[in-house]
């Protein structure tokens, strides 16, 4: 590979790649994200390659594995270009038929076409599917066309042009000014203006500075950072190099969560390729600026998503946060100025530089600009990644893009912002996604997890889930967080198991106040949010648990009792077979009885009974 040292060389290279790619007219694009891999998409890819080779079509039809398309609910999927035909939930056995019918005879296979879950209407082309059509895919869009292991694919899409522009046409001050004008705010959760952060880091006295990409995505139920890093690693890298130039940093780190092995592989490949073309290393684009980056795997601690804890872990110390009266932009990694940004924040940078701050700032609300990727999961029809412009309402995201709740169940709550966020009820659904609006409602934007819950979810149980999660993940350095979470967990467990007292809610609220005021880092300071919002919006559920010792959603198992209705029981023995406690007695074709003294309230009998003979109350 030749070093790319000027715009002419970059343009020539891009033309060459485009020419080469244009020679192959047809392309089968398959999503190769972690979600689809779990469905077995790599076997489908191999099947396509094998089948095309067998038919002598290997040179005429390209097979491309890309990063996550975001439509995880329907994987494995294939996009047939140039027609734009979209087939969903395909398996290896469908491969010969797709080649035979669709590729060769241009027939459509109805069985594999996406059908709208609400109307049942088939939609043939990917661009017409509401899930994609209603989004603004500035960041995720390229995931559909780029093979993450190929730097050429990224260059073909105009990659590294922003880097050239920044390094040769702009001064560091101009770049910072541009980012400030764009109104970009940190996508990791805090929402601090990125430009201002860069500025304060660049104005420090020390000459050695660092930039860090925080890919330690710990929020359970959120995976947009992984999909970006996994699907388009060069975009993040380009953003980082631009940022490093603006700040004056020479070394960068990409801190990736341990549970994301594919992201590590793709990012490592990206670093290697970027070095070969000279986008990393000495004298990038002949500008005299030198920079290199390194990948570090996390050790599996949620608290390491906090900037000072992450830096401690990078230094080889346990990931414990410190008090930040001196900011990390002044004294961060190895006590030197360090600028840390989230994956999605870095990914926005090339676009802002190349297209200008105005274009970016035109999207969004007054206080929040651009788009935000949400990971829309839980009880939702279209599970997946949604890139929405700021200001879109929660209702639009959940019902229009997400396709609503499956099985005709009723919506109960949406949880935004991960363990630091809150649960919002139905009446708050017209709230626009905006850093400040969500904070006003008691929740937060967070890194973008959006977990939808239906009538079968118990909000007290959800609060207990988050508190239990945080209690395990609290590093234990400061007392309010460590002890506060423990006590909160005890109280919530009591409520869930029927030992709740009249003043339990009050106790929870009092603990929250102390934790918010006195904890060392944001983990402790925001830990009470899920509890406070569930109390605020679903107080009646807490009260039913405490006063009536009942769980309206039948989730808190100590409060649910199962019995068999003699009238409906046919004696099929299905429940007898699945009962793990062996507490159901009854012969074939005779009414079965649950021994309440042995029952562990697991609900297996309720699940398997086809005659509605198991009653729960």
């Amino acid at each position: 590979m030749e070093r790319i040292s000027s715009i002419e060389k970059l343009d020539t290279l891009r033309d060459k790649i485009l020419l080469k790619q244009g020679a192959v007219k047809r392309c089968l694009t398959l999503c190769g994200g972690t979600g689809c891999r779990a469905y077995g998409c790599m076997e489908v890819v191999e099947a396509f390659k094998g089948e095309l080779k067998k038919r002598g079509l290997a040179r005429k039809v390209a097979v491309k594995t890309t990063g996550c398309h975001g439509f995880c609910e329907r994987g494995p999927m294939v996009l047939i270009s140039p027609e734009g035909i979209f087939y969903e939930q395909i398996g290896t056995k469908d491969v010969p038929e797709i080649i035979e019918k669709t590729l060769l005879k241009e027939e459509i296979i109805d069985r594999l076409v996406y059908k709208d879950p609400n109307t049942g209407k088939p939609i043939l082309k990917e661009i017409d599917i509401p899930f994609y059509r209603l989004q603004n895919r500035f960041l995720l869009g390229q995931n559909l066309v780029i093979d993450p292991t190929s730097i050429d694919d990224y260059i073909a899409q105009g990659g590294y042009k922003a880097l050239w522009k920044a390094l040769t046409q702009m001064s560091p001050e101009q770049i910072i000014e541009e980012v400030k004008l764009s109104g970009l705010r940190g996508r990791g959760g805090g929402g601090f203006p990125t430009g201002r952060k860069w500025e304060s880091c660049s104005k420090t006295e020390e000459l050695i500075r660092y930039v860090i990409c925080n890919a330690d995505e710990g929020d359970p139920g959120a995976y947009m950072d992984r999909s970006l890093l996994e699907g388009n690693p060069h975009k993040i890298l380009e953003g980082m190099i631009i940022g490093a130039y603006a700040i004056g940093a020479q070394q960068g780190y990409i801190y990736v969560r341990n549970e994301y092995p594919l992201a590590v592989t793709h990012a490592s490949q990206a670093l290697k390729d970027a070095r070969k073309y000279g986008f990393l290393g000495e004298n990038i684009f002949g500008s005299g600026f030198s920079f290199d980056a390194k990948i570090t795997r996390g050790g599996g601690a949620f608290v390491c998503g906090e900037s000072s804890a992450l830096m401690a872990s990078l230094e080889g110390r346990p990931g414990e946060p410190r008090a930040k009266y001196v900011h990390t932009v002044e004294k961060g990694l190895f006590n030197l100025p360090t600028n840390l940004n989230n994956v999605e924040s870095w990914a926005n940078v090339p676009m802002i530089i190349l297209d200008g701050a105005d274009k970016f700032a035109r999207i969004g609300t007054k206080g929040s600009k651009g788009t935000k990727i949400f990971s829309l999961v839980g009880k939702i029809n279209n599970t997946g990644l949604v890139e929405a412009p700021m200001g879109m309402t929660l209702r639009e995201i959940i019902f229009d893009i997400g396709g609503g709740i499956p099985d005709g169940k009723a919506f109960k709550a949406v949880q935004t912002g991960g363990p630091s966020g809150g649960c919002l009820p139905e009446r708050m659904l017209d709230l626009p996604v905006d850093f400040d609006e969500l904070a006003k409602a008691g929740s937060m934007m967070g890194s973008g997890g959006m977990i939808v819950m239906d009538e079968e979810n118990c909000m007290v149980d959800v609060a207990r889930y988050f508190v239990t999660f945080l209690e395990e993940e609290s590093c234990g350095k400061c007392t309010p967080c460590r002890e506060g979470l423990r006590r909160m967990k005890d109280i919530l467990t009591d409520v869930c198991e029927g030992r709740g007292k009249e003043d339990s809610i009050k106790q929870l609220e009092r603990l929250s106040v102390a934790m918010k005021a006195a904890s060392l880092c944001e983990l402790g300071r925001t830990a009470a949010n899920p509890v406070l919002t569930t109390i605020q919006y679903f107080r009646d559920e807490y009260e039913t648990h405490i006063r009536k010792k009942k769980c309206p959603a039948f989730v808190c198992r100590q409060l649910v009792h199962y019995s068999i209705l003699a009238k409906k029981c046919t004696g099929c023995q299905a429940c007898v077979r699945v009962c793990p406690a062996n507490c159901i007695s009854g012969k074939k074709k005779k009414v079965h009885v649950i021994d309440q003294s042995l029952c562990i309230h697991c609900g297996s009998c309720f699940d398997v009974c086809r005659f509605d003979a198991v009653k729960r109350k």
Partner: protein, 212 residues
């Protein structure tokens, strides 16, 4: 015993103490836990207190001070999986393996772990078995999953030379194998079940292929 291997790993990182977490990860990967002598060697070579190595080893979830099983089951406890019933999957697996989360079976075959989120939320509830995600589970399917792992373990055992400790395991394996066979026999009538067993054998074949 572990010293040589640890030295090799250290060399890869140029004896840089700031890389201690990555080094520990490699040691963990090699031995499936952090042996005491490996930690001592690291502390001496990198010139950091053993207490710090111990602190790191107990702070991060990725490390274990006790040997882990041959097969690792990570039950995803992410929010999306939780609202879709992950706690019941965990319970079913705890019952099936007779260990609690975080523990290893006495025969060192299985380790049951929880993980905060694997980001395969569309497939929830998910269990990652030896790096392979198995999704859309319910408690019954989770228990069946356990039975699918056992036969997969068989070829691996055969390939290894029979040492006294391993001979015990192979002796134990056929007993376990009998159970699903009996169940399958009782369900011959049900076409759905026979289909599933067919799937199981297909999976076995792919696993074998991968090993070759």
């Amino acid at each position: 015993m572990a010293t040589q291997e640890v030295n090799r790993i250290l060399k890869r990182y140029g004896n840089d103490p700031t890389d201690i977490i990555a080094i520990l990860q490699d040691v963990q990967q090699r031995y499936r836990y952090l042996p005491k002598d490996a930690m001592e060697t690291l502390a001496t070579k990198l010139d950091i207190p053993l207490s710090r190595v111990y602190h790191l080893a107990t702070f991060f979830r990725a490390f274990s001070l006790e040997p882990r099983g041959k097969h690792e089951l990570h039950v995803c406890m992410g929010t999306a999986c939780h609202v879709r019933g992950a706690p019941r999957i965990l319970e079913a697996l705890e019952r099936g393996l007779k260990v609690r989360a975080g523990e290893t079976t006495p025969d060192l075959q299985y380790t049951l772990e929880t993980v905060n989120c694997v980001g395969a939320c569309a497939l929830g509830p998910v269990v990652v078995v030896d790096g392979q995600s198995k999704g859309k589970l319910n408690p019954q399917r989770a228990e069946r999953l356990l039975k699918q792992i056992e036969p997969e373990a068989a070829p691996k055992k055969k390939a290894e030379k029979a040492s006294p400790a391993k001979a015990k395991k192979t002796a134990a394996a056929p007993k376990k194998k009998k159970a699903p066979a009996r169940k399958a026999a009782s369900a011959v009538k049900k076409t759905s079940k026979t289909k599933k067993t067919a799937k199981g054998t297909a999976k076995k074949r792919t696993v074998k292929k991968a090993r070759r």
